[in-house]
Symmetry: C2
Subunit: 153 residues, 2 copies
């Protein structure tokens, strides 16, 4: 899926967008937060909290779990990253979320994750909720399987 894209540009865009969002919301994208965000963009694969920790340690950042979890919390709150629940891992987000919903294709072969926006899925979810009288707040959809790239091989 991603093998030909310019990933450097990808990271740069993500960071630029993060700066914008934070300044709009008057939140600070501090060096630590920025670094953690960068690490979630190192690839299109989810990264684990303790792997982030290890990477920070190898640079001149402080290396205690709370540092990482606080940065992750901040980034999650601002929709700059998401948590892949089925993997206890985190991944950068570059989409505009209307609501608090996210949906992922997770390839079990190469472990790449692609986030998608698909109004038809949202519509089906909303309708099902209404049918139950359930008022949805946060929706998370994780679809595990094989990506197009890996399926070809």
């Amino acid at each position: 899926m991603w093998e030909r894209h310019s990933h450097r540009k990808c990271i740069k865009e993500a960071l630029g967008r993060a700066e914008q969002i934070c300044s709009k919301r008057k939140r600070k994208l501090t060096p630590i937060r920025k670094k953690v965000l960068e690490l979630t963009w190192n690839s299109h694969k989810p990264i684990k909290a303790y792997d982030i920790l290890a990477q920070l340690s190898s640079e001149d950042f402080i290396e205690k779990p709370p540092t990482v979890y606080r940065a992750l919390e901040f980034l999650l709150e601002n929709n700059l990253i998401h948590r892949i629940e089925s993997q206890n891992a985190y991944i950068g987000c570059n989409l505009d979320h209307h609501g608090l919903d996210s949906k992922f294709f997770i390839c079990d072969e190469c472990n790449e994750v692609e986030e998608l926006i698909e109004p038809k899925i949202n519509k089906a979810l909303t309708e099902a909720s209404e049918k139950q009288g359930f008022i949805p707040n946060i929706v998370n959809v994780e679809i595990h399987g094989t990506c197009a790239q890996c399926a070809q091989q």
Copy 2:
């Protein structure tokens, strides 16, 4: 949602169904597995592995983590329970799954969980997958919000 149902009957049905499924598949529903399954049915709220452990200890069962996790693994494999990923918790399942997909309404007020089967959601998910060339295997949908019961209050 559930306040008026006969929960004893609910558990009994779940256990009966589990016996059937296991015998059909030639898998053994041993005392430990049965007990763990029962505990996931104690309420319609997800239960944590270490809470199961605590309950087992208070009876005459052995009380080590692997015991519980093995039982959970067996029950998961046979679709007798599901894992609520956003809570690291487990809940009994009484539905027939055609594929490896599950969808939950999770009430953030009372913590009750309702599993649903909704072909329209599956259709939307399948179509989105096809559009990407993604071959889905396991699908998990967790919808957090407020249930009808709690919304009324």
